[in-house]
C-alpha cells in the first residue's frame, strides 16, 4: 500500500512537471521554433558590476512575465546573460557566441559605449536585431544607423543627450555659475558628454568658461589627483561622468578634499543610478554634499508618476528586493519591445522585426517610447534633479525635478558631427 502510494506520488509529480507547470505556454508556438532565445550582456565585474546585474534582473523579470502570460505567439522565451567586462573584444565575442552557438533570436544590453561601437558593425553579418539598453555614445545611432545604415541596431535607452545637452539646458539658467571644470570618464562616453555639454552651453552662455579637464580611465581607484588638478583652476561647478562605484568613490574623495565648500554645483551625470544613490546615501543623509549635487539617469524609479511605473517598481522590488536601476528598466523594456515587434512581424527574421518597429509607440515603465525611424533611437523623457532624501524611500532620490521637452534636448536628424575625442 505504502509503495503504491509512492508510485502514485511519482506519477502525479511527472504529470505536474510535464503538463501543469509550464502553464499557459502549452499553446503551440506559432514561430516554428522550440523557444525564442534572448541574449543579454552587461558589465558584471569590477566597480561597474551592478549594471550587468541590473540588466540581468530587468531582462529576467521581463522573460518571466512574458512566459507567465503564454510567451511570444505561444513560444516560451529563454534568456542567457553574459559579462561584457567593459571590453569591446569580449562584447563582440559574446555577441557572436550568443547568436551562432547559443542561437539567440534577438539581443539586449551592453553597458560600454566602446563595446557598442564594436558590436554594431558585426550585426549585419549575424542578422539579428540588437536592442542597446545603456551604451550612450550618440555615434551608435547617429553614425552607425543614420549614416552607415546598419539596420540591426536599435537603442532603447537615451544617449549622451541626457548627460550633456540636458545638463547644459538646465544650468544655462544659473547666471552665477561661469567656470566649469570636467572630471571625465576617459573613453568615448566621457568625451562626447563633455563635448555636447560645452557646445550646447556655449550657444546660450557666451560668458561661460571651461577651465579644466581631467580624465580618469576605468578601474581608477584614486581620483585625488584629478580632483586637485581641476580644483586648481577654481571652478564654480564640476561636470563629472565616471559612473557606478567609481562615481561613489569620486564623490567621497571630493568630499574629503573640501570640494563642496568651494564650488556651487556638482553635476554627476549618471548619479541618479540606484547603485550610486545607495552608495552615497550616508553622505546625503549627513548633508556632506551641502545640497550641491545634481544628477540624472536613463530612467529614475520615482518618475513618471504613472500607474504603470508604480506597478513596475513594486513588482521589481518584490522580485529582487531592490529598487530598479535604469539599466534594469531599459532592458526590461527592450525585451518587451522585442516581443511587440515579433508579434507584429509574426516572424523571427531580423529585417522583418526591425521593419515592425516603424511607427511604434509603446508604453513602458519610463513612459511613452517613440521609435525614430532615421536612427532607430527610441525617444522618451527623463528629468534631472537635485540629489535629496525623501522619507518615502530608504535611499536618496532626485528631487526638484527639471523636465525638459525631448524636442529641445535630443539631437534630431540631419545630424551634425560632434567630436568623440578629448
Amino acid at each position: 500500500m505504502k509503495r503504491c502510494a509512492s508510485v502514485v506520488g511519482v506519477f502525479l509529480l511527472v504529470v505536474f512537471v510535464a503538463f501543469v507547470a509550464p502553464g499557459p505556454a502549452l499553446a503551440a508556438c506559432q514561430l516554428g521554433v522550440p523557444v525564442v532565445k534572448v541574449g543579454a550582456q552587461g558589465a558584471a565585474s569590477g566597480a561597474h558590476a551592478d549594471y550587468g546585474r541590473q540588466i540581468n534582473m530587468g531582462a529576467s523579470m521581463a522573460v518571466e512575465e512574458i512566459n507567465a502570460k503564454g510567451g511570444i505567439l505561444g513560444c516560451k522565451v529563454e534568456l542567457k546573460f553574459m559579462d561584457e567586462e567593459l571590453k569591446p573584444a569580449t562584447a563582440v565575442k559574446n555577441t557572436r557566441y550568443l547568436v551562432t552557438e547559443w542561437g539567440a533570436h534577438y539581443l539586449v544590453g551592453v553597458d560600454s559605449s566602446g563595446s557598442s561601437m564594436a558590436i554594431g558593425p558585426v550585426l549585419p553579418e549575424l542578422k539579428r536585431p540588437y536592442f542597446f539598453t545603456h551604451a550612450a555614445t550618440h555615434r551608435l545611432t547617429e553614425e552607425l544607423v543614420a549614416e552607415k545604415g546598419i539596420k540591426e541596431i536599435v537603442r532603447v535607452s537615451v544617449p549622451v543627450y541626457q548627460d550633456g545637452i540636458l545638463a547644459a539646458l538646465i544650468f544655462k539658467d544659473m547666471p552665477d555659475i561661469k567656470r566649469w571644470a570636467n572630471i571625465g570618464a576617459d573613453y568615448e562616453y566621457g568625451y562626447t558628454s563633455w563635448n555636447l555639454f560645452k557646445e550646447t552651453l556655449k550657444k546660450y552662455r557666451p560668458d561661460v568658461e571651461f577651465v579644466a579637464a581631467a580624465w580618469a580611465p576605468f578601474h581608477t581607484l584614486d581620483f585625488s589627483a584629478h580632483i586637485s588638478a581641476v580644483m586648481a583652476a577654481k571652478p564654480d561647478a564640476i561636470f563629472s561622468t565616471p559612473w557606478a562605484g567609481e562615481a561613489v568613490m569620486l564623490l567621497r574623495q571630493a568630499q574629503i578634499q573640501g570640494v563642496f565648500d568651494q564650488i556651487k554645483l556638482w553635476w554627476q551625470a549618471m548619479g541618479g543610478s540606484v547603485d550610486v544613490l545607495e552608495g552615497i546615501a550616508p553622505a546625503v543623509i549627513g548633508d556632506k554634499f551641502k545640497g550641491k549635487l545634481w544628477a540624472t539617469a536613463r530612467y529614475i524609479h520615482n518618475w513618471p508618476d504613472s500607474a504603470e511605473n508604480k506597478a513596475f517598481v513594486e513588482r521589481f522590488q518584490k522580485r529582487w528586493s531592490r529598487l530598479p536601476n535604469y539599466s534594469a528598466e531599459t532592458t526590461y523594456s527592450a525585451v518587451m519591445i522585442g516581443k511587440a515587434a515579433i508579434e507584429k512581424a509574426k516572424s523571427l527574421d531580423s529585417a522583418k522585426i526591425v521593419d515592425a518597429l516603424k511607427g511604434m509607440q509603446i508604453n513602458t515603465p519610463a513612459g511613452l517610447r517613440v521609435f525614430r525611424a532615421e536612427d532607430h533611437q527610441f525617444v522618451y523623457n527623463v528629468p534631472a534633479g537635485r540629489v535629496v532624501m525623501d522619507p518615502k524611500y530608504p535611499i536618496p532620490v532626485l528631487g526638484e525635478l527639471r523636465v525638459m521637452p525631448v524636442k529641445d534636448y535630443y539631437r534630431w536628424p540631419p545630424f551634425t558631427p560632434v567630436a568623440a575625442t578629448k
Partner: protein, 285 residues
C-alpha cells in the same frame, strides 16, 4: 607654484598605496625569486576583509585592519606552503602560471562570497576633515596614508637591517644553499617572507577601505602598476620599490594636472626610459 606643490603632496599620498603593494612584491621576489602575479589579488583580499570587519560589521577600524592582515597572511601562507613550494626548482613560467591561476580563483571567490553592492564605510571620526596645505584643503585621511607609508618603510628597514631575523632573510636571499648549510630553516624563512609580503599588500588594500570601492578584478589592475614600479626600482630591491612608487605616484599626479590628454601613457614611458638606460632598474646592484 602652490598648485604644483599641492599636486605633489596629493601624488605622495597616492604613491604610498603603491609603495605598500610593491614593497611586498619586491621582497617576495628578492628572497624567494618568485614574481607573484597574485600579489594584487592579496591587496584585493585585504581590502575585502577590512571592508567586512569595518564596513559591514562596524568593528573598530584598527581591529579591522589587524584582522584583515591576519586573514590575508593565512591565505598567503597556504599559497606558499601548499602550492608555490613545489615549484621553486622548475622554470619560472610555471610560477607565473600558478600565480596567474590564483588571480582567477581569488577573483571568483570574492564574487561568490561578497558579490553584492558596496557602500564606502564612513571615515573614522579622528581621520575626518581636512587641513590647509599650501592654502588649499588637504584631506586628513591622505595625510594619514602618507604617515602610514613612511612608518612601514622605517619598520621594514629596521627589520631587515637591524634584527637577527632580517639578517637571516638577507643571507637566505643571497645564497639559499649556503644559508641552509649553516642551519637556517630555509622553508620557514620562505613562508615567513611570503606572509610578510601578503600582509603588506593587505595593508595597502585595507587602508583604502573608507575612501575606495573594492571590486573583483581589482587584483589584475593593481599588479600591473606594482610590477611597473618594481621594474623601475629594480626587481627585489626595497629602496627601489619606495623610490619607484614615489616616481610613479607623483608623476602621474603631475600628468593629470599638466598633460591630461596622455597622462595614462606616462608611467609606461618612464618604465621604457628606465629599461633603456638602466635595464636592471634604478637601484639594482
Amino acid at each position: 607654484m602652490e598648485t604644483l606643490a599641492f599636486q605633489g603632496v596629493v601624488g605622495l599620498s597616492m604613491a604610498m598605496y603603491l609603495w605598500l603593494i610593491s614593497a611586498g612584491l619586491t621582497i617576495i621576489f628578492g628572497v624567494l625569486g618568485v614574481i607573484n602575479f597574485a600579489h594584487g589579488s592579496l591587496f584585493m583580499l585585504g581590502a575585502y576583509l577590512a571592508f567586512t570587519f569595518y564596513g559591514l560589521l562596524g568593528w573598530n577600524f584598527w581591529l579591522a585592519i589587524l584582522l584583515s592582515l591576519a586573514g590575508t597572511a593565512v591565505v598567503g601562507w597556504a599559497m606558499e606552503r601548499f602550492f608555490l613550494r613545489y615549484l621553486y626548482g622548475v622554470d619560472e613560467a610555471y610560477q607565473l602560471l600558478l600565480t596567474f591561476g590564483f588571480i582567477l580563483i581569488l577573483d571568483d571567490a570574492v564574487k561568490m562570497i561578497w558579490g553584492g553592492v558596496f557602500r564606502i564605510p564612513d571615515i573614522p571620526a579622528f581621520l575626518e576633515g581636512h587641513w590647509s596645505v599650501f592654502g588649499r584643503p588637504f584631506p586628513v585621511y591622505n595625510a594619514f596614508i602618507i604617515a602610514a607609508g613612511i612608518v612601514v618603510g622605517i619598520v621594514l628597514w629596521l627589520g631587515f637591517e637591524r634584527t637577527w631575523w632580517g639578517r637571516t632573510v638577507r643571507a637566505t636571499a643571497s645564497d639559499r644553499e649556503m644559508a641552509n648549510a649553516i642551519g637556517v630553516n630555509v622553508p620557514r624563512v620562505f613562508s615567513g617572507v611570503f606572509m610578510l609580503g601578503a600582509m603588506l599588500a593587505a595593508l595597502g588594500g585595507a587602508l583604502g577601505t573608507p575612501v575606495r570601492v573594492v571590486s573583483p578584478g581589482l587584483g589584475a589592475a593593481m599588479i600591473i602598476q606594482a610590477f611597473v614600479i618594481t621594474v623601475i626600482g629594480g626587481l627585489g630591491n626595497l629602496k627601489g620599490a619606495f623610490v619607484g612608487s614615489l616616481i610613479v605616484g607623483v608623476l602621474s599626479a603631475y600628468g593629470t594636472l599638466l598633460f591630461p590628454v596622455f597622462e595614462l601613457a606616462l608611467i609606461y614611458l618612464i618604465m621604457a626610459v628606465v629599461l633603456l638606460v638602466r635595464p636592471q632598474g634604478l637601484f639594482a646592484r
